[in-house]
């Protein structure tokens, strides 16, 4: 297989050299090679086949998830009627919704401050802020648990939400900061020059510019929160099970198509949100063209 591919690649290079003797093979030309295309296809299959299989088997008419027995919607109905799954899903939406709102607001302010101002030890603050991005989730989870225990705080939806806010803020801040990097500061000066105060300038000029960044940041925060397992696992208490944790506990019994169905719902939800955000960004992007 390996030698075959190499030979093919060699042949391809050979033909290319014969056809265009003086032209060097440019990096962008590599994608035209059949061997590379095959490799690409292989990678895609490797990446996405498990997901496709997961979705496909959610329609499998079998209690066990091994062989295909026929098409059915039964397990979606079953998942839908599963009260504890329902409750977990609601919990997840509440946590994700509340933490997204708060972390988007705080993260946006943080991102704006880091873009706008110079202050003593800014580098340190900058690094400190992005620490939650690089810190292993498991450590974050343990730290959160230790903190809540030390403070004698009852674990529940509130503690999950607080932890989610804490680890999603830096993501929002990074997105907002990147968005602001392309901002023309003379827009703000023009607004001031035309008679607007500082607040008017912020709401009329700066905030609309941040818009796409806010949407992207909020969406990132929402999806991160929605499918977070590790941190949630440590900070959830009795009766505050979220969707991913519920699915995990279901898997421990057996992998039924019901689990697949629930997971598929999660995938569809995240995909839809992402597409919506991309459309919104694309639209505002078009307006911004040729700034």
């Amino acid at each position: 297989m390996k030698t075959g591919m190499l030979a093919e690649a060699g042949k391809a290079i050979g033909t290319a050299t014969r056809a265009r003797p003086k032209r060097r093979v440019l990096p962008l030309d590599y994608a035209r090679r059949r061997s590379i295309q095959a490799l690409l296809a292989g990678i895609f299959v490797f990446l996405y086949f498990p997901i496709v299989a997961l979705v496909a088997f959610s329609f499998n008419n079998s209690r066990r998830n091994v062989t295909w027995q026929g098409f059915t919607f039964d397990y979606y109905v079953k998942a839908f009627n599963n009260a504890s799954l329902h409750e977990a899903f609601t919990n997840s939406l509440i946590v994700a919704g509340v933490s997204t709102l708060i972390s988007t607001a705080l993260g946006a302010m943080l991102g704006l401050a880091l873009y706008r101002f110079r202050f003593p030890m800014k580098g340190l603050v900058d690094g400190w802020v992005s620490l939650p991005i690089v810190i292993p989730e498991i450590c974050m989870g343990v730290a959160m648990l230790a903190f809540f225990a030390a403070m004698d705080i009852q674990l529940g939806l509130a503690t999950i939400t607080v932890s989610h806010i804490a680890f999603t803020i830096p993501f929002v801040a990074v997105v907002i900061r990147a968005r602001m990097a392309g901002f023309d500061q003379s827009l703000e000066e023009a607004s001031r020059d035309l008679g607007a105060g500082q607040w008017q300038t912020f709401w009329n000029v700066t905030f609309p510019y941040m818009g796409p960044g806010l949407v992207a940041g909020a969406l990132l925060a929402f999806t991160l929160s929605l499918d977070d397992f590790v941190i949630t696992f440590f900070t959830s208490g009795p009766g505050s099970t979220t969707f991913p944790i519920k699915i995990y506990s279901m898997v421990r019994f057996s992998v039924t198509p019901e689990v697949n169905a629930a997971s598929t719902v999660l995938i569809v939800l995240t995909l839809t949100l992402t597409v919506i955000a991309m459309v919104i960004q694309g639209r505002s992007g078009k307006q911004m063209v040729g700034k």
Binding site: D193, A196, G197
Partner: protein, 360 residues
């Protein structure tokens, strides 16, 4: 001169240890089209930004329309600015952009609509009301920026390198357009530019700046024909410069020994140090095959190079000692054959009165 609408008094601006503007005093009269001209980094934009209120002078004071500007925010000053990048709000339509300055100060809707219509007509953008900035060309966006500033009816309009982002043809058209606008609205324009052609063709008075200082303030013709220093002579237009040593005065004429020519006598009044520069503009230099008339300043040399520009040719003549003189020769006859060719032996000459005596 009518009363000063802008009075800059001993203004300096320091950024850390760097002096961007160094003790500048200027009075700009009502209705003037005034240009701040200088190479990049000479402090002209900083000076303009101090008028707009975006920078605060380190010392000195600024009066606009008889009012002291210290402590007055940019949004409360009777001036408006057109930014180099135009700074047209990308998320607002042309109408909203132009009406912005009125909206934020609480002008009623009906009045805004009326004045936006007038302003768009003034800059010839009627019919573009609903367009977004992304759908406009660079020239059109600039018109939006102009309309947006003019709709506020400022006492002074500040323009920061307004034409630098436009291509050459459009720039020339916009130069005429700006002069037309200025005459139509009758307010004072202050323009910052590094482009001498722009300043000469539009402004009625120019301040030439160098390293934070104002070197000369004069009308365009005065600056070009009577520059007060080597810097101004060299920055505005082109010059042929000869180093010379003063030999004395005689009947209101200055006697000097110039490199390449020898003893010359040129009209001059004033005081000169012993070392001076004698300069002449290339278009005032004549080329002859035979020796020119007595009394003209002349050098004999050989044509080294000819740069053809269509309307004129720049002829570079080198004398035996390595001195190069440029002569601009108008191509006023319809022929492909120029009056001289490379390698020709010619005389260059100019009238004593056309000689600039540069003492600074």
């Amino acid at each position: 001169m009518s009363r000063a609408i802008v009075s800059i008094q001993n203004v300096s601006k320091l950024f850390g240890s760097i002096t961007a503007v160094d003790d500048v005093s200027l009075d700009i009269a009502e209705g003037e089209f005034f240009a701040l001209l200088g190479p990049s980094g000479c402090g002209k934009t900083t000076l303009l930004r101090m008028l707009a209120g975006f920078e605060i002078p380190s010392s000195g004071r600024i009066m606009i329309d008889g009012q002291e500007m210290e402590g007055i925010d940019p949004n409360r000053r009777p001036v408006n600015m057109v930014f180099q990048s135009y700074a047209v709000f990308p998320h607002m339509s042309v109408t909203d952009n132009v009406g912005y300055g009125l909206k934020v100060t609480g002008v009623p809707r009906a009045e805004i609509d009326k004045r936006v219509k007038e302003a768009l007509a003034l800059v010839k953008l009627d019919g573009y009301e609903r367009r977004m900035p992304g759908q406009l060309s660079g020239g059109q966006r600039q018109r939006v920026a102009l309309a947006r500033a003019l709709i506020k009816r400022p006492k002074v309009l500040l323009l920061d390198e307004p034409l630098s982002a436009l291509d050459a043809k459009l720039r020339e058209a916009m130069q005429l357009e700006l002069v037309r606008l200025k005459n139509a609205v009758g307010i004072t324009f202050i323009i910052v530019t590094h482009d001498q052609d722009e300043a000469l063709s539009m402004a009625n008075r120019i301040a030439v700046m160098d390293r934070g200082r104002v070197v000369q303030v004069a009308s365009p013709a005065e600056l070009y024909e009577f520059p007060n220093s080597r810097f101004v002579a060299d920055f505005i237009g082109k010059i042929n410069l000869l180093e010379a040593r003063v030999a004395g005065m005689e009947n209101g004429r200055l006697l000097a020994d110039a490199v390449g020519i020898g003893r010359v006598a040129v009209p001059f009044s004033g005081a000169a140090k012993s070392e001076i520069g004698l300069a002449v503009r290339p278009e005032k230099v004549k080329l002859d095959r035979s020796e020119p008339a007595v009394g003209r300043l002349k050098i004999r040399g050989r044509v080294r190079e000819i740069a053809y520009y269509g309307d004129e040719s720049h002829v570079f003549i080198e004398d035996g000692a390595g001195l190069t003189i440029t002569a601009n020769v108008p191509n006023d006859a319809r022929t492909t054959q120029g009056p001289v060719a490379v390698g020709d032996e010619v005389w260059v000459s100019w009238a004593p009165a056309d000689t600039l005596v540069l003492t600074e």
